[in-house]
C-alpha cells in the first residue's frame, strides 16, 4: 500500500522547493520508492537581461541568488572576458578568488550549521523559542552534551559566517551583492591596509574550521553511521573547477573533472543538453545546448511538475557540488552518500580557507587589478566556474553591443532537476530512493538527503520566454 508524502515548503534551503515522495513497505520497512522534486518559483532573469549593456550582467546575475552572488559575478565576469577577449591582471584574479573564497566559506558554514544541522539534533531545552520551535521529533536525534555543544557551535557559526562576509567586503565593497567584480578584473586594489585587515579575519575563521567545524562534522557522521550508506543518487560526478591559479585558468585549486561509471573522464561543456519533458516549457525548448537555449513557458503542461529544466551531460544524470569537486580532484574518496556530501563540504571549507592565506601573500601591493577592453559589437562568451553548491555556467551572446541572449545553468538545476525526456530522474530524486521513513509526521530522513545537496532554488529557476509579459493589475 503506497503512501504519498508532500513536503512543501521544504525549509532551510534557498528559495521555494517541493518534494513529493511515494512510500511503500519493502523489506519490512517503510521507504521511499519514488520521488519528485519541484521548483515552484520563477522570475525570468535571462529575459530581463536581454538588450542590456553586457557589463551590467555582473551585477544583474548576482541577484539570481543572495547566497552565492559571488559565483554568479565570477561566471558573468569570465563569460564577458571570454567575449571581450581580455584577461584580468594577476592581482585582479587573486582578489576575485579571495572574495569568492570568503563566500564559499560563509555559504558552507551557513549550510552545515544553520541549514543541515537542525536535521540531526534535538534542540529541546536548548533553543526553546521560534524560529527553532516547532520542530520535528525523532528517536535518532542527537541529545545531551553533544547537542548542547553543537547548539553552541551553531550560534558561534552565526558570528563566523558574518566574519567571512566582513572579510569579503574588504575587497568586494559589500556583500551580498559584491561591487568589485567586473569584466576585466576587480575595481578594488590591494593595499598594505587591506591585506592587513583581511588576514586576521581569515586567521579567525581558519581557527574555527580547524578546532570546531571539522570536529562537529565528524561527531555527526559518527552519530549517524547509516547516513553514509543512504542517498547515493546517480553516482556520476561533474565539476567545472574554480579558483584559477594562473592567467589562463589551466591551473585551478579545484580542477575540472568528471567521474562516471566508476571512471574519471574529461569535461566537454559542448556535450551538455537541457531537457524539458517534465518541466513547464514547450517541447521546442528541449534537447538544446545552453548557447542555443530556448525557454518558452507552458503553464499547465501535461506531465510537467517543475520550473526547473533537466540538464544532462551526454544524456547522463550527474551530481554537482563539493563532493563532486573534492572527488574528481582526489581530495575525498570516502564514499557517495548524504553524509559524504556533508563531510566533503566541511573539508572543502578548510581547503579553500587554507589556500586563501597563500593567495594573500601572492598579491603585489599597488599592482593593477583591471584591464580595460571595449565591448565588442558581436561576440560569444562562456563562463564556467563553481558555486558553493556545484558547477555554474553562464553563456552570453552579444549583438550590436548589447546582450542578445543570456543563459545560466546552475548546480541546483542539475541536482534538483525533474525527470528528463528519457524518464531518468534527477540526482536528488534518485538519491531519495530507498530512504527509510520511520514517521510520516517527522520526515527528517528525507530532509537529510535533500539538504545534503544544499539546494538553491532561486538559482535553479530563472528563465522565461523573451517577449512574454504577464498583465499586471493596477496595484497590488
Amino acid at each position: 500500500m503506497a503512501t504519498q508524502l508532500k513536503i512543501n515548503p521544504v525549509t532551510r534551503v534557498e528559495g521555494h522547493l517541493e518534494v513529493d515522495v511515494t512510500i511503500e513497505k519493502a523489506g519490512g520497512k517503510d521507504q521511499v520508492v519514488e520521488a519528485r522534486v519541484a521548483g515552484p518559483m520563477f522570475r525570468g532573469f535571462e529575459t530581463i537581461m536581454t538588450g542590456r549593456d553586457p557589463r551590467d550582467a555582473v551585477h544583474y546575475t548576482q541577484r539570481i541568488c543572495g547566497v552565492c552572488p559571488v559565483s554568479h559575478a565570477m561566471a558573468a565576469s569570465l563569460a564577458l572576458e571570454d567575449a571581450f577577449g581580455v584577461t584580468p591582471p594577476p592581482n585582479g584574479r587573486i582578489i576575485r578568488n579571495l572574495v569568492l573564497g570568503a563566500n564559499f566559506i560563509q555559504s558552507h558554514i551557513i549550510h552545515f550549521y544553520h541549514l543541515a544541522l537542525p536535521d540531526y539534533i534535538d534542540t529541546t531545552g536548548l533553543l526553546d523559542m521560534s524560529p527553532w520551535k516547532p520542530r520535528f521529533q525523532a528517536a535518532d536525534l542527537i541529545r545531551g552534551p553533544l547537542a548542547a555543544q553543537l547548539v553552541g557551535s551553531y550560534v558561534q557559526a552565526l558570528a563566523v559566517r558574518r566574519t567571512a562576509h566582513q572579510m569579503a567586503a574588504v575587497y568586494s565593497g559589500r556583500i551580498p551583492g559584491v561591487a568589485n567584480f567586473t569584466a576585466g578584473g576587480s575595481t578594488e586594489r590591494a593595499t598594505r591596509g587591506s591585506v592587513s585587515t583581511f588576514r586576521p579575519l581569515l586567521d579567525e575563521i581558519r581557527a574555527f574550521i580547524d578546532t570546531t567545524m571539522l570536529a562537529d562534522a565528524a561527531a555527526i557522521a559518527a552519530a549517524f553511521p547509516q547516513d553514509s550508506e543512504l542517498g547515493r543518487g546517480p553516482g556520476n560526478l561533474l565539476a567545472y573547477g574554480v579558483f584559477d591559479l594562473n592567467d589562463d585558468g589551466s591551473s585551478k585549486l579545484l580542477g575540472r573533472g568528471r567521474y562516471a561509471g566508476g571512471a574519471e573522464g574529461a569535461v566537454d561543456a559542448g556535450l551538455i543538453r537541457e531537457y524539458v519533458a517534465h518541466s513547464w516549457f514547450t517541447p521546442e525548448s528541449g534537447g538544446l545546448h545552453p548557447s542555443d537555449g530556448v525557454t518558452e513557458p507552458a503553464i499547465g503542461k501535461d506531465g510537467a511538475y517543475s520550473w526547473v529544466k533537466a540538464p544532462r551531460y551526454e544524456d547522463g544524470v550527474y551530481e554537482l557540488g563539493p563532493l563532486a569537486r573534492m572527488w574528481v580532484n582526489g581530495d575525498y574518496r570516502r564514499g557517495i552518500s548524504s553524509m559524504d556530501r556533508i563531510l566533503a563540504r566541511v573539508q572543502e571549507t578548510k581547503k579553500v580557507a587554507d589556500a586563501m592565506a597563500g593567495w594573500l601573500d601572492e598579491l603585489v601591493l599597488g599592482d593593477p587589478v583591471y584591464t580595460h577592453a571595449e565591448t565588442p559589437q558581436s561576440a560569444l562568451g562562456v563562463g564556467l566556474t563553481e558555486a558553493p553548491r556545484g558547477a555554474l555556467g553562464h553563456w552570453v551572446r552579444i549583438e550590436q553591443g548589447k546582450i542578445a541572449r543570456y543563459q545560466v545553468i546552475t548546480p541546483t538545476a542539475w541536482n534538483g532537476s525533474p525527470r528528463d525526456d528519457g524518464g531518468q530522474a534527477g540526482a536528488i530524486e534518485q538519491a531519495l530512493i530507498g530512504v527509510p521513513v520511520s514517521d510520516m509526521r517527522s520526515p527528517l530522513e528525507v530532509l537529510r538527503v535533500v539538504h545534503s545537496f544544499d539546494p538553491c532554488l532561486a538559482c535553479a529557476v530563472h528563465m522565461v520566454r523573451p517577449g512574454t509579459r504577464a498583465q499586471r493589475p493596477a496595484a497590488l
Binding site: L158, A179, E188, A458
Partner: protein, 306 residues
C-alpha cells in the same frame, strides 16, 4: 500612525536588553535561560526573492548581533530559510501567528501577477499569501528593492508582471526598506526605533525611513572633493571620482558613505562600501532601480562634469 502599545510592550524591554548587554555564549544550555516570551513577533515571507536580504540581515551587528536578535529580541515565528520545521508543521507555525495577529509582517521579494510564478506553499500563491498575512499584521516591512518597488525582478520587460507592495493598497502600515540587498542596519535600526518610540518612523515620499534614506550619497561621498576639483577616474581601478564612469551617487539616497557595509562591531561603520571599492554606485535603493539606473557603467567615460 501610532502603534498599539500592547503589541510592542514586551518587545521593548527585550530589545533594550539586546542593546544594553553583550552576551557571551559558552554552551548551548545558556541560550534557553536568556529569553522569556517577550520577543517581537515576526512573520517573514519570501516571494520572488533571492534570499539576499535575509542573508544580509544575518550580517547584523551594528545595533544588535543576529544571535541577540534571534534569541533575545525577535520572535521569528516563520522564516523558511531558518526554521527547522518544514511542510505542514512549518505552515502551522505561520498560521498560529496569523491567528494571534499583531505581528510584524516582513516581505522579501517581488510579487508576480500570475499565481503560477510563485507560491509560498501549496494552494497559497504569493499575492494571496501577502494579502492574507497583511490583514492581521500590526506593521508591514517591505525589505529590499523587490518588495519595495519590484526591483530587479520587475526590470523591463518584467516577464512575470512582478511588483512591490504598493502604498495605495497597504497605506501607512508599510515601511519600505529598499536596497539590493537591504542593509541590515536599515532593517534592525528601524525596528529598534519603533520599539524605542512606539511610533512609526518619519518616511520620505517613497515610504523609506528618513533616518536611513534621507541623505544623498553624492553629498557625503569621500570623493566629493575630487568631483568638485574635476579629478575623475578614467578607468576602473583608478583613483578619483567615479562620476564619469557612471556613478549614480548624485541620484541615490542612502547613508552608505558614513554607515558603510559589513560592520565588524557594534556601533562601528562597515569595512567597505561600493564606491570606496572603486565601483560606481548603482542606485540600488531607488524606486527606478534597475532600469532607471542602467547601464551601471559608462564607457567611454562621460565628458567633464558641469
Amino acid at each position: 500612525m501610532r502603534l498599539s502599545r500592547r503589541d510592542f510592550l514586551g518587545a521593548s524591554s527585550a530589545i533594550a536588553a539586546a542593546f544594553g548587554m553583550r552576551i557571551v555564549w559558552r554552551d548551548g544550555a545558556a541560550y534557553a535561560r536568556e529569553r522569556d516570551d517577550g520577543g517581537l513577533p515576526i512573520v517573514w515571507l519570501q516571494g520572488q526573492s533571492c534570499s539576499g536580504c535575509s542573508v544580509s540581515l544575518l550580517n547584523s551587528i551594528f545595533y544588535a548581533t543576529i544571535d541577540d536578535l534571534l534569541v533575545n529580541t525577535l520572535d521569528l515565528e516563520f522564516h523558511s530559510t531558518l526554521m527547522p520545521a518544514a511542510g505542514p508543521l512549518a505552515i502551522a507555525a505561520a498560521e498560529k501567528a496569523y491567528r494571534r495577529g499583531g505581528y510584524v509582517l516582513v516581505f522579501e521579494g517581488a510579487v508576480p501577477s500570475e499565481g503560477e510564478y510563485c507560491e509560498l506553499w501549496p494552494g497559497l500563491p504569493a499575492e494571496k499569501g501577502l494579502l492574507r498575512y497583511a490583514r492581521r499584521a500590526s506593521l508591514i516591512m517591505a525589505v529590499g528593492s523587490c518588495a519595495s518597488h519590484g526591483g530587479l525582478v520587475a526590470g523591463a520587460p518584467n516577464p512575470t508582471g512582478a511588483a512591490g507592495l504598493a502604498e495605495e493598497y497597504f497605506g501607512t502600515r508599510v515601511i519600505k526598506m529598499p536596497g539590493c540587498p537591504a542593509h541590515p542596519d536599515w532593517v534592525v535600526g528601524t525596528i529598534a526605533g519603533i520599539l524605542a518610540t512606539g511610533a512609526m518612523p518619519a518616511l520620505d515620499a517613497h515610504g523609506r525611513p528618513v533616518e536611513f534614506y534621507g541623505k544623498l550619497v553624492h553629498d557625503h561621498c569621500p570623493n566629493l572633493q575630487d568631483y568638485k576639483d574635476g579629478i575623475f577616474a578614467k578607468s576602473l581601478g583608478e583613483p578619483g571620482c567615479l562620476f564619469e564612469l557612471g556613478c549614480k551617487g548624485p541620484r541615490a539616497f542612502a547613508d552608505c558613505p558614513g554607515r558603510r557595509w559589513n560592520s565588524g562591531a557594534a556601533g562601528e561603520p562597515g569595512y567597505n562600501w561600493c564606491i570606496e571599492a572603486g565601483s560606481p554606485c548603482i542606485g540600488c535603493a531607488e524606486p527606478e532601480y534597475p532600469d532607471g539606473m542602467s547601464p551601471f557603467f559608462t564607457f567611454p567615460p562621460a565628458g567633464q562634469a558641469d
